[in-house]
């Protein structure tokens, strides 16, 4: 398209002046087609369209409708552009000539930005939240206002850091708009100096605070410092309010920088900064009373809904100005979090980050999996989860330090010496390493995404098992070789095959349990879900038990660390606590299945067939992914029916599923405290579902 304006002399019917700036081309003009179109419309039959061969009604339905507020992000509102808004005084610098009001308004802006930031973290677009601030959009013009300028700079640098973490983790597909910046000015020159700029401002205000305190106690300080604002009664309150806000931002930025350091080197420092952040947030909350009371005018509306501590509306924000910078796709109407909720959000975020920073970077995979599952129970948000993922998987290694083959080697109870074995260069082992890496990434995503991915993942784990088994059989079809190295390779294969199976059943177990968390099962389907869980748990326990036996062998060969051989023998003959724990789960699952089956069989109201699909169809729908991966084998709808059709309360009374579960759980609990070795002492975590047991007993 040529850039030249239209030939004005060619206009016959008087083109509007604006048209002149939209180029046609060298040889063409804009000709008014409205009369012709009107005539054509009159000539069309009802429902008839004028369209070309490439027209598709279904595709046409995706067209953006202009002037529909839900679809047209460009509807002209108050201002045509950011520059027009600025020219009309929407974002004045200074905000007010009265220094007291100027300071209060600056604090309002800081508070509103915090609320916007929390809304953004929760999953809204940057353009509608943080960058609805006109001051941020034209940061350079804030230079004369040191406070605003330093604050905006650090906000911009912080947003950039967070975007980079979430982008690197690539968990953001689930949370749409988070990383889309659409050309917003996130990269600023000199933002790396934002901390020093902030420190300078903080220093000034600290001195102003000291000065006003000195004045109140009638002591004169040598330096003659200009106060922050003109009302001496309010000076101390405002200084304190500002200081905690500035310090919070400083420490938060440090948290992000420290956590970014590779191999978890900055985690301890990060914890210190997190603690400081939490302290400052408390001070920020306390400052609200002062800010609300310092002016005679009270604000309208419910204070809890406000996005600022003072309750006043902040100056200099307009979300519509940026709506065109969001994608042409529909801009969602969003509500910025209230200030109180924003502070709560950051408190939770900091606590979640603290949990991550306290993690000991345990090289044992099973402890790590337990940690991640436990962490996810607190429902951390995207930013925290991205940080966890980046800590766990860096440069294709665990924690950026342990190669995945070494991790698998340890998890499969192989001796230390084999972790550098050449067999790891084998294609299947490389793929297995990738699978473990992907498993960790998947476990860091949100529950819904996680379940979906885990379901599909089962197939990959099944395939790798088959591949490894094939490779094993090809190499060692006959167990006759006597060479040391071949023995080692064989052992590696055997251990890892067993470990892969165990891991696959663990994933299946997680997949089914997540269905409860996501409330994907209707109550009528609980029976079959518990039954399937029972089937999976049986297999999982079997593999875990085998794995433990095999790890005992390895320990025996390594030489006993403890001298008390009789105690060890006794321990070996006992069932390991981890397995007992699983047996406890099995009892529960079986008990619940039978109980629900009996209810359904004996009490008609529990057995109302759905008008939509049959029980068989539901079975297939829920367990299709598991069935396809043959997890477990020989489990099908007919076998489910066979197990449950004859369940009756009269027969059930003979079994003590729940009592058994309770007994085993007590035994397990005591053995946890006795057995310090991590592998034996609690594979599935301390979150024994005692509540579950009590509930079931109550039902009985």
């Amino acid at each position: 398209m040529a850039d030249k304006p239209v030939y004005e002399e060619a206009s016959i019917d008087g083109q509007p002046p604006k048209l002149a700036s939209i180029p046609a081309s060298d040889t063409t003009v804009w000709a008014d087609a409205s009369p012709l179109l009107q005539a054509a419309c009159a000539g069309l039959r009802d429902g008839e369209l004028i369209h070309g061969d490439n027209f598709n009604l279904f595709a046409a339905m995706s067209a953006l409708e202009i002037m529909d507020p839900k679809m047209d992000s460009g509807i002209v509102c108050t201002y045509y552009s950011i520059d027009e808004a600025i020219e009309n005084g929407a974002a004045p610098i200074p905000i007010s000539l009265d220094s007291t009001i100027d300071v209060r308004c600056t604090i309002d802006i800081m508070d509103h930005l915090l609320a916007c930031e929390a809304a953004w973290h929760k999953g809204h677009s940057l353009a509608q939240t943080v960058f609805s601030c006109i001051y941020l959009l034209r940061l350079d013009r804030t230079a004369p206002h040191a406070l605003l300028h330093s604050y905006c700079r650090i906000i911009r640098a912080t947003c950039k850091a967070v975007v980079s973490v979430v982008s690197d983790a690539r968990t953001h597909e689930e949370e749409d708009l988070f990383t889309m910046t659409y050309g917003l000015p996130l990269n600023g020159d000199g933002d790396d100096k934002c901390l020093s700029i902030l420190n300078a401002v903080e220093e000034t205000i600290s001195r102003q605070l000291r000065a006003c305190k000195a004045t109140s106690s009638k002591r004169r300080l040598p330096e003659d410092l200009e106060p922050l604002q003109s009302n001496s009664n309010l000076e101390e309150g405002f200084c304190k309010a500002l200081l905690c806000r500035l310090r919070f931002r400083k420490h938060f930025f440090h948290v992000l920088s420290c956590m970014k350091r590779p191999q978890g080197r900055g985690l301890e420092s990060a914890r210190k900064h997190i603690a400081s952040c939490l302290t400052e947030l408390e001070s920020i909350l306390e400052s609200a009373d002062f800010l609300r009371s310092c002016f005679d005018e009270s604000c309208e509306g419910d204070i809890d809904d406000k996005t600022t501590a003072s309750g006043f509306e902040p100056i200099g924000f307009d979300a519509m100005l940026n709506s065109r910078l969001s994608a042409p796709t529909p801009p969602r109407a969003i509500k910025i979090l209230s200030w109180k909720k924003a502070v709560e959000y950051f408190v939770k975020l900091l606590h979640d980050l603290d949990v991550i920073c306290s993690y000991s970077l345990d090289p044992h995979l099973e402890s790590l999996l337990r940690f991640v599952v436990q962490f996810q129970k607190s429902q951390p948000d995207l930013v925290a989860r991205s940080h966890l993922q980046l800590l766990l998987v860096q440069d294709g290694k665990l924690y950026g330090r342990d190669p995945f083959f070494a991790v698998i080697n340890k998890a499969a109870a192989l001796p230390e010496a084999t972790k550098n074995h050449d067999i790891q260069k084998n294609e299947s082992f490389l793929q297995l390493g990738m699978l473990v890496m992907n498993l960790l990434k998947i476990l860091c995503t949100n529950a819904a995404w996680q379940r979906r991915k885990l379901g599909k993942f089962l197939q990959d784990w099944r395939v790798i098992y088959v591949q490894l088994e094939l490779a094993f059989r090809n190499e060692y079809g006959e167990v006759s070789s006597s060479s040391n190295d071949e023995n080692t390779c064989m052992k590696i294969f055997q251990h890892i095959l067993l470990w892969v199976e165990e891991q696959t059943y663990w994933i299946a177990f997680r997949f089914l349990i997540l269905g409860f968390e996501l409330e994907l099962y209707s109550t009528g389907e609980y029976c079959m879900v518990y039954w399937y869980l029972y089937a999976v748990l049986i297999k999982l326990t079997e593999k875990t038990h085998l794995m433990m036996a095999v790890s005992h062998d390895t320990a025996k060969r390594k030489g006993k660390k403890k001298k008390d051989s009789s105690k060890d023998l006794a321990r070996e003959s006992r069932i390991p606590p981890a397995v007992l724990f699983l047996q406890c789960y099995i009892c529960l699952a079986e008990g619940l299945t039978m109980m629900l089956a009996a209810l359904r069989n004996e009490i008609p109201v529990f057995h109302s067939p759905s008008p939509f699909n049959t029980e068989h169809e539901k079975f297939v729908q829920h367990f299709e992914l598991l069935q396809r991966a043959c997890i477990p084998d020989h489990v099908s709808y007919p076998s489910y029916k066979e197990s449950t059709t004859h369940a009756r309360f009269s027969t059930l009374a003979m079994y003590n599923y729940f009592k058994d579960a309770q007994r085993i759980a007590k035994e397990v609990k005591s053995s946890f405290s006795n057995d310090p070795e991590s592998r034996l002492g609690g594979r599935w975590g301390r979150n024994v579902p005692f509540g579950w047991i009590h509930f079931s007993s109550y039902l009985k």
Binding site: T28, W30, A31, C41, R45, G52, A60, S62, A63, I66
Partner: protein
């Protein structure tokens, strides 16, 4: 004059050569399909795209649309543009509608000589 009209009719004559249908507005608008069209709307914006569809109510669908808007309420002012893709402009918000064409075509084709 008649010769000119005749020439123009021949100029945009259909491949099937039937002259009577080529003067029908519907057919003439059909000829405008895939041409660049500039639609102005009531809030002052302009949409430039390929003419894709028209219905009886006068709603227009444009393809590969670019939105033009001025950056100040008062003119003259620099224009901003952004790409939108497939766009439907309801007839209720349309202000103007122009088609990109050669000078000769403008004289003959677009004069609403409803025959």
């Amino acid at each position: 004059m008649e010769q000119e009209v005749g020439e123009s009719l021949i100029q945009l004559g259909n491949s099937d050569g039937s002259n009577s249908s080529s003067s029908d507005p519907v057919t003439r608008v059909r000829k405008l399909l895939f041409r660049r069209m500039l639609v102005g709307i009531k809030d002052g914006r302009f949409f430039l795209g390929t003419f894709h569809c028209l219905d009886k109510q006068g709603n227009i669908i444009l393809q590969d649309t670019i939105e033009y808007r001025s950056t100040r309420r008062s003119s003259p002012s620099p224009m901003e543009q952004r790409c939108l893709g497939l766009v439907l402009i309801p007839s209720s918000c349309q202000n103007s509608c122009h088609v990109d064409c050669s000078v000769e075509e403008q004289l003959s084709l677009l004069k609403a000589k409803m025959i």
